[in-house]
């Protein structure tokens, strides 16, 4: 029988795990060699894309970033400003390597019609490839965080490995972050962390991560009601429940306060809006009014209204200008389902989160980068039963990329404009039309399949919750 001293001795002689194992999820450590191999392959793909692609949106954000660094003024856009401070820090750090010619177009001195003209001109300026690569570095960091956290949701080595591969080679997340150059992955990384801490009951870390997700993008706010219900239903009502609720409200308030403080104390810059343009081309300020895509807007509310405005609608024949927003209906149904689910678990919470995102994509117009929000949660669902779910997953991916064709050259040929200006004219629908195919109808069909796949996965995500409600109702 060993004495305590012997045990201490034996513990002391066990060598600590090397760092390349410690950073991996426990379930992956037994297969570290192949995990690191695929991580290296995925990283190589990402690095290869860094300098080659950029959308007008990334270049617009480059404009905002450059003005922030050069003039210490923030151009108010529909994007919450925190990301521009990170991009600005990188711009400042790498400034000695960045071509000064690019800044010629990204300054408030000249005013261009259309307002996207400086981005187009900057896209054809020497040095732009390095600049867009630098701007994508935060996306890479967030992407890596998700890759290392997602497998930690699984104890089974095979499932954890599949989860890693599904995220690390997810075509949608790679396309959004490295080809379009949208920063949605940053907030999504914080959301994944929030769920990781939620699962392990580390409330403070969970709320901090949730708050940061909301700070970087407002979409995480739609999950707050689910979180409140989760706190309420997972433990008997007690002081701890109140603390969790208070913490949730406090975190949400702090995220909002942080954004308001930035807008209050940060010197703002104004871009002139040219009202001589067609409606969607009007961006910037006209007098004291802010225009966004032709509409007067409050910068942050504009996001919410865009979110709802894209929703499919049912007109109500009452003589009132009344409609039912399908997305709001779907969200309400999920909220009721979650609040009525007996024995709520973390799985139910992840499921209802995924379903909320998917029904929105299925029943609304959406910006292509928004689909990235759901991808980590879809991976959690897929990894457990990939073989059975592979076909709808492939349909979802194909349908998604067909949906991007609605945005024509903007998200097709123009993504290559920093590498090959001649490619910017390619329009997939026009190409199909010229080949004798009904281009728009083909895209509509693909989009419909995408919606079908989204609704199918949404059902699977909440199937367990529905089953619990059904059983509870049957036994009552």
């Amino acid at each position: 029988m060993p004495t305590p001293a012997d045990i201490d001795q034996s513990v002391a002689t066990v060598p600590p795990e090397p760092i390349w194992l410690r950073v991996l999820a426990p379930a992956l450590r037994s297969q570290a060699r192949r995990v690191w191999f695929w991580l290296a392959v995925g990283l190589a793909i990402r690095v290869a894309l860094l300098p080659l692609f950029a959308s007008v949106d990334l270049l617009s954000n480059a404009f905002v970033t450059t003005v922030l660094v050069n003039q210490h003024q923030l151009i108010v856009t529909n994007d919450p400003p925190p990301i521009f401070y990170i991009e600005g820090a990188l711009d400042w750090l790498f400034r000695p390597f960045i071509s000064s010619q690019i800044g010629t177009y990204f300054s408030l001195g000249p005013s261009f019609t259309p307002s996207s003209a400086p981005e187009s001109l900057a896209a054809q300026t020497p040095g732009i490839n390095l600049f867009v690569s630098i701007l994508k570095l935060p996306f890479l960091a967030a992407d890596v965080v998700i890759a290392f956290v997602l497998p930690r949701f699984f104890g089974n080595p095979r499932t954890a490995y599949i989860a890693l591969l599904l995220w690390w080679f997810n075509p949608i997340s790679i396309y959004v972050s490295y080809m379009v150059g949208q920063f949605d992955v940053v907030a999504t990384a914080f959301l994944v962390l929030a769920f990781y801490y939620l699962r392990s009951n580390r409330d403070l870390w969970c709320l901090a991560a949730f708050g940061l997700a909301m700070f970087f993008e407002l979409y995480a706010v739609v999950l707050i009601p689910f979180l409140l219900i989760y706190w309420l239903r997972t433990t008997p009502f007690s002081r701890k429940t109140l603390q969790r609720w208070g913490g949730t409200f406090l975190t949400t308030g702090l995220a909002a306060l942080g954004l308001l403080l930035i807008l209050h104390f940060q010197a703002l810059a104004y871009t002139p809006a040219n009202l001589a343009l067609s409606s969607v081309g009007v961006n910037g300020n006209f007098g004291s009014i802010v225009y966004s895509r032709g509409l007067t807007s409050q910068p942050f509310l504009a996001i919410a209204f865009t979110f709802l405005g894209y929703s499919a609608q049912l007109p109500i024949d009452t003589g009132l200008s009344d409609v039912i927003l399908i997305v709001v209906v779907a969200y309400g149904v999920l909220l009721i389902l979650f609040s009525r689910t007996p024995g709520v678990t973390w799985n139910d919470m992840a499921g209802v989160t995924l379903a909320s995102f998917l029904v929105f994509y299925a029943l609304s117009g959406f910006l292509v980068q928004w689909v990235l929000w759901s991808m980590p949660f879809l991976v959690l669902l897929l990894a457990k039963n990939l073989r059975a779910l592979m076909l709808p997953y492939v349909i979802l991916i194909i349908g998604y990329f067909m949906y991007t064709w609605y945005f024509r050259t903007v998200l097709f040929g123009a993504l290559l404009q920093v590498s090959y200006p001649g490619a910017s004219g390619a329009d997939p629908i026009a190409l199909m039309d010229s080949a004798g195919l009904p281009g728009l109808m083909v895209v509509n069909a693909g989009r419909s399949l995408f919606s079908a796949a989204c609704l199918w996965f949404a059902y699977l995500a909440v199937r367990d919750s529905i089953g619990k409600v059904h059983r509870a109702a049957s036994s009552a």
Binding site: Q101, T113, A117, Q124, P126, I128, N129, L275, N285, F286
Partner: protein, 194 residues
Amino acid sequence: MKIEPARARQYQFIAVLVTALIVSAAYVGLVNFAVVHQPNQLVVGWSDSQFSGRWSESGSAGTPGYISISNGTLSVGAVGTARPGVIITAVGLDLPSLNVGRYPYLAISVKSPSEYLAIRIVLSYAPGQALMVVLSTFNDQNWHTIYANLVFLGFSGQVPVNFLEIGWMAVQQPVGPNPVVQFQNLSLVAFSGS
């Protein structure tokens, strides 16, 4: 000096990471230098820095306006307060046709005293045919150069100029007293490489 195996593997791991970082940076740098971009240069196709055509004032009834040209600056002003909707403009005649096909941007520098005075430029390309090509406010009182892409606005090839209006319109709030907007360097330009 002998390094213990565990530590050696740790060094190897760090070395691989550093190598990956260097290779990645080298690749981005290589692409940055290898991709051929034409440096954008401003090329002036036509300019009228002295506003040498025939220019006359035109404006909204009830608000006296005036124009003056001095040292290459066209000043367009109103006497008294300009209420929202008031337009004061300089109308230029005898201007040459614009080779928009080759030089797509109509450029002009402006300095406005108020964010409530919208710079307004109208191009008439045939009798009874005109298009407003700029209606834009500025939120500071510095000089700005406006580049209006006439191709984007639907023009092409050689565009005859019936007349050109350069002026402003008061928007949202009354501006006064005696607001004056200054214009300089009217030109038609291209960005080589674009």
